[in-house]
Symmetry: C2
Subunit: 458 residues, 2 copies
Amino acid sequence: MQTKKIFLPESEIPRQWYNVAADMPTPMEPPLHPGTGQPVGPEDLAPIFPMPLIEQEVSQERFIDIPDEVLEQYLIWRPSPLYRAYGLEKFLDTPAKIYFKNEGVSPAGSHKPNTAIAQAYYNKISGTKRIITETGAGQWGSALSYCCALFGLECKVYMVKVSYQQKPYRRMMMETWGGTCVASPSTETEAGRKILEQNPDSPGSLGIAISEAVEMAVQDDEAKYALGSVLNHVMLHQTVNGLECQKQMKIAGDYPDIIIGCAGGGSNFAGLCFPYVRDKVNGKDIDIIAVEPTACPTMTRGPFAYDFGDNNQMTPLLPMHTLGHTFVPEGIHAGGLRYHGMAPLISQLILDNIIRPVAIAQLETFEAGITFAKTEGFISAPETTHAIAEVIRQAIQAKEEAKEKVILFNWSGHGLVDMAAYDAYLSGKLADHELAQEEIQRALDDIAPLPKPKQYTG
Amino acid sequence: MQTKKIFLPESEIPRQWYNVAADMPTPMEPPLHPGTGQPVGPEDLAPIFPMPLIEQEVSQERFIDIPDEVLEQYLIWRPSPLYRAYGLEKFLDTPAKIYFKNEGVSPAGSHKPNTAIAQAYYNKISGTKRIITETGAGQWGSALSYCCALFGLECKVYMVKVSYQQKPYRRMMMETWGGTCVASPSTETEAGRKILEQNPDSPGSLGIAISEAVEMAVQDDEAKYALGSVLNHVMLHQTVNGLECQKQMKIAGDYPDIIIGCAGGGSNFAGLCFPYVRDKVNGKDIDIIAVEPTACPTMTRGPFAYDFGDNNQMTPLLPMHTLGHTFVPEGIHAGGLRYHGMAPLISQLILDNIIRPVAIAQLETFEAGITFAKTEGFISAPETTHAIAEVIRQAIQAKEEAKEKVILFNWSGHGLVDMAAYDAYLSGKLADHELAQEEIQRALDDIAPLPKPKQYTG
């Protein structure tokens, strides 16, 4: 029999995270204070994050130790298995070898707990009693709720109202782990009440939910805020996956020619590819591809500029690819890919031609998800189907070129709590969305008054 | 760090299933033809099952080879990991060591594909074009739909109407894998139309759905019928799990004093414990506990008698613990445990004092499920929480007795598609159900006219 899955023994789990900041070809430009326009210091972030996470956010150390208490909890599902997709290869009749890292085996069903456990732990040892966050489709909120339960922390989640109503199972998961989930905009915060006064039927947005969570965290001495993507320390925690994968690929006896992941804020993608970015900076020839939806083409069509992380302009200004902080994408089902910005580290690596972004429309991604389910068994999260669609494109191209390419991708999560999306696709209710050029212009107008980074591309 | 999970290398996956029929202390009494009352022969079963499965159903061979094509598909998630539940042990402050086999890692999220893959394979090589089955809560229907996709078979599932409406995600899973799912009773069959004429609002039952599936399979030369539990060949296929577990427990350096599983038709329970039943028959001292709901106490309160598998009296008469083929249990959320009968092999082993049944009420099981989610991370299927509730009872008893017992249980599946059940529990909407004594009397009346097995206990 052919080897289908490669497991690492628990004793081989990485003991350090990899910090790509140490190997960036171009130094990162700093985040700026929203009021002063000056670089943000640790003291500016102290009201919302515990100090160990702030230190990681600005660290230039190449490797950072993973605490034993975090490792112990990682072992609930880590090291996650590396799979060879024989079924998909056979169906596509491709000479390419396709590997995928299965991050759906965590209790929350996605990669999100890789950072949620670390964030819960550092908050716990820093004296935090409760963590307040926002969530869009619910993957992050459920992961953080799970990890807070493990460390005896309270967890409060502001969930974008339209998702709160459409995806009740995610709220129920949060509550099962002991968390509290509130539809946003809510009447609990100034930010929420302001929106509701203007529009009582507001469906909410990630930007509004971030504003509510930050507002509550700042007011509460026992609380901190947490973010599930975009920031440097979140990318850092996710690299445990890519470091595992490098060991597993060695066991498999292959090295990837192409690495693919979907990218919303960028964390699952960074987790797999950043250790390989180090290899590429050191001379390896790898095509590293970040896939986003055409409905929210942050990387492929948004400028590189300073912008806010939320639409209420409460967060620091980050240098990133952005569609503008007031951007509201079409209601595609890949909720995790509907964010206006992109992680600064990934944005910079795109500018430096280390990472190559592509955008794929919704129908092709669901078709890819169905193909994957029928050939490899697993039902993918709508976000993850974006990666699969690009894998299929690359595998077909390898066939046309008759090349035995090695393709590796991150299977970032299962779709069992997102079945309504498949139902909509199968009943012909979904459409493709291409962002109009006026929207790009609106993004440029949105960020026009803000400071410009050196490499501004608008 | 302590070892959390024990993986077997793929090369160590069992190459044979174990057939407990070879080691039964008391020989099994045969199934009887519903018309003649005579023992059923292979030719009676040929219209609904392919011959290789009929041969396995009656085989007395101790070990039966697993075909390579089945092994290859098992590798998608097998060998499944054996976990040590340190988090739960610590929470309970028990000297007991608690192990669980994680069968939730399959694409369908439960143990069901262990037999679905085998049944799809044997149907494929026997020339079947489509498989027709029924499903209650949907675990079986989704598993079979998945496995039919792998072998290029059509799959049609009659799903009990109340579940079809309450659990739409299961239907969507079946459709994503290419299967067809119809609410039962339907207008497609005589059996369904008859019920609908009597009661257009019938919520359906497993018994009715079985009748519809069998009726359709018998009429269609290219189709066969499939059952996800109860029958000998289904138990056989599930033993791949227990055989793996025996190897893993050896690596762990422990041998179970207590083995626990939930039992509806009995297949996940049999899969883990039958290889240990062999050890017990050969002298090992193990307490093997099957857990059922008090709302459907087939094993603890139902007589051992000949009864039909469906309420339309179409199936052979099986010697088993039963609450009568017309029994309709309360609408508890553990849909997989709402069956009136129990696998004949398990029923006989209960009579022989090899397996000990217990019944637990619903609220205790959900409390156990919440405790497990907060300590071990994973959210359990409502069926599986029955096993956890008994594990907690045993771990507390071990503490009271200050004994370092080794407890092993089957974590038969995750509950991510059953979150509404947790929501109902957390909102205080659930109640316990104790079966009234009149219902037991009704069961006795129900089966009174049927032939009696030698060990009849009514």
